[in-house]
């Protein structure tokens, strides 16, 4: 068991924000925790899973995770749900109404915003949900605060019978900093579900009387925010500018303007407008530094307080010191020149699929078939949009591939007339939100060829388990969904359900060709595990026999990162046309011996040399 799990009160640890949240949940007496993976929030649940006192699970999506937490709360247990920012969109149907009904056991939703957009499909600001859903928001600025605020959030939730949102960002989740523990687990008894239909059955007649109660609660929370010790003034001698800020932006402000007074909002929704008014009175100019939208600023201005903010600061991205300095210095009458630095231009290193990734086969097929509109989804296979495949045409949100493909089929435009429409989706994404799209397509007699890439892993977020893998969050055996039966149950004809080994390139190319020509929906299901999981077996690496390689470059098109261009040659063909030959080389340290590329090589130059001394490899997992 990890040292942190067993650590006593008054010990100090170097922890990420996510690890700190897990410890706090344990101390707070949480009994149920549920999440769906998503960067930068994934490690919250992975760390909670280390505490045996908490029941924890990977739910199939964020809405389900929040509903599981709601159920536990109604039974009187303290419960936590964690997700990345876009997960809130999925979960919102549940919490928007539960916030009206209220909660019993403390219910905390920890959400992680990808400020700076380093690993998501958008950069949305979760602070809106607090306003929209009438839920208070606590905003930690570092690991220590994440630890303290999660514990405070549970008390607040129970006291006001409201779900509480803890809004983190990448710079809290993934920053390691000192955390001092001030307690150990305190058990919170769960009284059991108290039946009360007027309270818990949200029919119009029951929901309506809750509205004034909810607004009364809002007023009380506003008063609390005004007096909360989480909203603190850090005095400063230089009163020309006073900052209102929250979360990691506070750290950047302190770093950049150490002598300026700062009002730091830990309890940021509802905002303490009177406290802000009083603070504004003590400084020449009030500047709001908020990541990412102009939210507090609008509220402060609406309260009649003069304020600067997004007129000088960017409306997206992190407000790091390098961003704050050039924006704020001119306000102080101190022009800021970006210091001259050596500039370098180095090639990009875009993320790519792994060696022997089971998605390589399907993309090899898709990149070789003409006349396809390839409607994609979110996962490692989204990388199929890049070099060398260029075989993914859309990616919007989880599960969208099937329904968007269906819509594109029904709404075919002139240039689509002869096109086949393909949807590409992974196992976890299919189970998260994709199944409904397939059901809808079948029901409405659509015609899309679906590639269901089952790699028995949530690959993109680091190889978590899901109902298709046969294991649960704790690595224990779990019931495993049968994808073929599942899609048949949704109405796909058995003849149109094709299981395929994605390493068999000729078969998969043939299958995709065949199925796209069908006048009805089909589902092609692949069956090789993600190469980074324990389910994958590494074999002896392959090599290219140099003088047998004809330079056709076929294997390079596969996109396996173990295959490199050894050299290029330009030759003149008999016709007089010049042609570039590309000779290949396989890096033995990267190759896993999956055999896939062998099929691309007509002259049979790719071979498995005799077993040599054992090769020690760099592990792909950091």
């Amino acid at each position: 068991m990890s040292a942190v799990v067993q650590a006593k009160a008054e010990s100090r640890h170097l922890l990420s924000g996510n690890e700190a949240v897990a410890r706090a949940a344990w101390e707070a007496g949480v009994r149920v925790a549920a999440a769906y993976p998503g960067t930068p929030a994934t490690e919250i649940l992975e760390n909670i899973a280390l505490y045996p006192d908490i029941y924890s699970e990977w739910s199939v999506n964020e809405k389900v995770a929040v509903e599981v937490a709601i159920g536990a709360s109604l039974a009187g247990s303290r419960a936590l749900a964690a997700m990345k920012h876009v997960g809130m969109n999925v979960a919102s149907d549940a919490f928007m109404t539960q916030s009206l009904a209220g909660v019993v056991g403390g219910l905390v939703i920890v959400v992680a915003d990808d400020v700076g957009l380093s690993s998501s499909q958008n950069e949305q600001d979760s602070r809106y949900w607090g306003r929209f859903g009438h839920m208070p928001i606590l905003e930690p600025a570092d690991s220590q605060e994440a630890y303290e605020m999660v514990k405070r959030a549970f008390d607040l939730s129970e006291q006001y019978e409201v779900p509480v949102v803890v809004r983190m960002t990448t710079r809290v989740c993934h920053v390691k900093a000192m955390v001092e523990f001030d307690g150990e687990r305190i058990e919170h008894r769960a009284a059991g579900f108290q039946k009360n239909p007027q309270r818990w059955v949200m029919t119009p007649a029951n929901a309506k009387p809750r509205l004034p109660l909810m607004h009364k609660r809002d007023r009380k929370l506003r008063e609390l925010s005004e007096t909360s010790d989480l909203n603190v003034v850090f005095p400063g001698g230089d009163r020309r500018i006073g900052f209102v800020t929250a979360g990691p932006a506070f750290m950047h402000v302190r770093e950049t303007f150490p002598n300026a007074p700062v009002l730091k909002l830990g309890f940021s929704c509802p905002p303490p407008l009177e406290k802000i008014r009083a603070f504004a009175g003590q400084v020449d100019t009030l500047v709001v530094v908020e990541e990412t939208e102009l939210l507090l600023e609008t509220e402060i201005r609406a309260a009649g307080i003069a304020v600067r903010g997004k007129d000088i600061l960017p409306r997206f991205g992190e407000l790091a010191p390098s961003v704050l300095r050039p924006a704020i210095k001119p306000l102080l009458g101190e022009p800021w020149e970006v210091p001259k630095r050596s500039q370098t231009s180095v090639f990009p290193r875009p993320p790519t699929m792994c060696a022997s990734c089971p998605h390589l086969g399907p993309y090899f097929a898709l990149s070789h078939i003409r006349n396809l509109n390839i409607i994609g989804d979110i996962g490692c296979y989204t990388l199929g949009a890049g070099h060398p495949w260029n075989a993914l045409d859309t990616c919007t949100c989880m599960g969208a591939s099937l329904s968007m493909a269906h819509g594109m089929d029904k709404g075919r435009g002139e240039s689509d007339e002869k096109k086949h429409i393909v949807a590409v989706i992974g196992d976890s994404t299919f189970l998260h939100m994709g199944m409904q799209g397939l059901l809808n397509m079948i029901y409405n007699r659509g015609n899309v060829t679906v590639l269901l890439l089952d790699n028995r892993s949530v690959g993109m977020t680091g190889g978590q388990e899901n109902p298709g893998t046969g294991e649960d969050l704790h690595g224990l055996p779990a019931p495993r969904v049968d994808f073929a039966k599942l899609v048949e149950g949704l109405g796909v004809r058995p003849e149109r359900i094709r299981m395929v080994d994605p390493y068999e390139l000729p078969t998969i190319v043939k299958l995709v060709r065949e199925e796209t020509r069908m006048e009805e929906p089909s589902v092609i299901i692949t069956n090789r595990p993600c190469s980074l999981t324990d389910r994958f077996e590494r074999l002896q690496p392959y090599a290219v026999i140099d003088d047998q390689c004809t330079g056709c470059g076929n294997c390079i098109d596969l996109g396996c990162p173990a295959i490199f261009v050894a050299r290029r040659e330009t030759v003149t063909a008999k016709s007089g046309k010049s042609k570039e030959l590309v000779f290949a080389r396989i890096d033995a340290n990267t190759c896993t011996g999956c055999h896939m590329c062998v099929e691309t090589c007509a002259p049979e130059a790719i071979v498995q040399p005799q077993p040599q001394n054992r090769v020690i490899r760099i592990q792909p997992h950091a």
Binding site: S119, H252, T352, P388, F564, I616, A622
Partner: protein, 207 residues
């Protein structure tokens, strides 16, 4: 170093142990009584992307990020990656670079060029550059994974605490969890420390 704060940037690509090295530095600084923050930008590190880990320590650290032009030390696990992050280094900064070259698929495919001599480019920028082949040293010691400890050994004389402190914390870590590897890591640290003296010049040498 400003306001008593040390800024170390560790860079490389996914799978090279960049984050482990940064963690080691952070833990050791913590044991010396410093306030410490460590942050990563590892946009899809597992898929062969760029990894940069920022370690900051001093009496009190607020922002976890090292701004451009603010790094005191740059530890590059790969030559072109070190060059990529050069603008983050102070003019008075020190770069400790493994001369390993790992061209990505887009370079192999001919879409981009790999810099001819990244070490020389670094040296030409006027900073203090030390460069050596950490992989070769690791091979000599019999385990390619030792690159990590070798790089830490190499930077150890540029830290505000004694090199011995870092060495002890690495070796103790191994003694506790993988005792068989403790001695060879001690050797790797010393080998790195020795190699870290190698001074790169602006002459285009065979780096």
């Amino acid at each position: 170093m400003r306001d008593g704060i040390t800024n170390i940037l560790v860079v490389g690509i996914g799978g090279q142990g960049v984050m482990t090295a940064a963690e080691m530095l952070a833990r050791t600084a913590l044991s010396q009584g410093y306030d410490v923050k460590k942050t990563e930008v590892a946009g899809m590190a597992q898929r062969g992307g760029v990894v940069s880990s920022h370690v900051r320590f001093g009496p009190k650290v607020y922002s976890p990020q090292i701004d451009p032009g603010e790094a005191d030390l740059l530890i590059g696990f790969e030559a072109a990656e070190a060059l990529r992050w050069l603008p983050h280094l102070r003019p008075t900064g020190v770069a400790m670079v493994n001369t390993l070259r790992l061209p990505p698929p887009v370079v192999s495919a001919g879409l981009y060029d790999y810099p001819t001599d990244p070490i020389a480019d670094l040296a030409a920028a006027g900073i203090e550059v030390h460069a050596f082949d950490a992989g070769a040293l690791a091979e000599e010691l019999g385990n390619p994974k030792l690159v990590n400890t070798i790089m830490l050994g190499a930077i150890s004389e540029h830290l505000p605490f004694p090199a011995e402190v870092l060495k002890a914390s690495i070796v103790e870590g191994f003694r506790a969890y993988k005792p068989k590897l403790a001695d060879v890591n001690a050797q790797a640290f010393d080998a790195g420390r020795e190699a870290g003296h190698a001074r790169a010049t602006t002459h285009r040498s065979a780096a």
